[in-house]
Amino acid sequence: MSAIPQLVALSAFVYALVILVVVLAYVPPFVAWSVWLYRLLLAAYPARFRNEYGQAMVQLFRDTVREEYRRRGLRGLLVVWLRTLADFTVSVIRQHRDKPVEVSSESVLLRDLWQQWRQFGSVALSATTFSAWYGWHLLRLFFRRAVLVWATLTVIAFGIWLVSFFDSMCLLRMRASRIDIGGGMVRILHADFVGDPITEEQWQRDVQARRKKYPTLGDVLQSKPKPWEIRFIRDIPGAVVVQLKADRKTPAILRPYKEWWLILPFFPVPMLLLLGTVRAYRRRRAVSGQAMQSA
């Protein structure tokens, strides 16, 4: 999307403010008005930056305005405002550009669910379609009355595989996203499950060692991909994309999702398959029974 309309709007806003300032400069009390206006301007900064430094910025601005007004009067006030507006324009753009990408645990969870569903949903739908159109006839030919047992076993096996795979795929991701390494919150956006599992103790030891060795997130980012259990791929503002080494044997204590109901979205397709099979089997039995009775 083009940024030109936004820039035009911002320029118009800045010019309007200059005019307002010029007008207000002739209306006492100048310092209080200026501080009030500057407080309004702060709304353009990202919320996190504003919450953290807004008060200090207002304080600094008030000190500057007061000093300049005392020394040079309205001319000084106007100069401060022109300088502040230039600084404001540049720093607002910079702060928005550097604004951390918010990756909440919830959004990671939702994205994981969506990705898993996209991946497995297509497989499950294909399997269902195949079973619905061809499978039934083939099964009837080869298994006859054992079809119910076969279908049940298949669905259970499919379900177990699905759950275990889903569980493994989500492994460590959420947990690691809550762990503070070296002063910065590390967000896990990608996980790769190879190599040896890590235990809770190993994980904690490594975090402690990292804290000692790399006191800040900047240091962590500069580190080479040496550790065996965590590999840094790249960083984006506010997030670190890392590759974890783990496997499906990683202890359950490290698993992030304790909530069993999170796997429910993956059950409708195999459940429908099972129900359809049962209904079809019953109908077939009923038809066979009727045929035998009439015979």
Binding site: Y45, F49, E52, Y53, A56, M57, V58, Q59, L60, F61, D63, T64, R83, T84, A86, D87, F88, V90, S91, V92, R94, Q95, G183, G184, Y214, P215, T216, L217, G218, D219, Q222
Partner: protein
């Protein structure tokens, strides 16, 4: 880019180096830093609140600065102010950056781009 003891490279923007210099004498609050920079550069470098606190935020994250306790500044008013000071890493970085600049000045002098009088005059003035 300046290497630190830990081997990492840190790049400093001019406002950040000015802040490091301003805090080399001791703790200061935002307005104190701004005044110090303005006085030292004879008004040539002026930082607005956005630039100053943007730089402070980045330097705090990089571990170059740390916050000292909030307290009053008797020279200004009765409002509590947040003070900042250099960390060891920040001080080392300031020294390394100053040495790098001194080296550049020396090279410029060797190539007759600068005169001794000019250097001493600027430094002294």
């Amino acid at each position: 880019m300046v290497p630190l003891d830990s081997g990492r490279q840190v790049s400093l923007s001019p406002p950040e180096f000015q802040i490091l210099l301003a805090l080399a004498d001791g703790e200061k609050h935002g307005y104190g830093i701004m005044q110090e920079v303005g006085t030292r550069t004879a008004g040539r470098t002026r930082m607005g609140p956005g630039t100053l606190y943007g730089a402070i935020k980045r330097m705090l994250r990089a571990g170059l600065l740390e916050e000292a306790e909030e307290r009053l500044d008797p020279k200004l008013d009765d409002q509590r102010r947040r003070y900042y000071r250099l960390t060891d890493a920040g001080r080392r970085l300031a020294v390394a950056e100053a040495e790098r600049m001194a080296e550049l000045v020396r090279e410029a002098y060797d190539k007759r781009l600068l005169t001794k009088r000019l250097i001493l005059g600027r430094v002294g003035g």
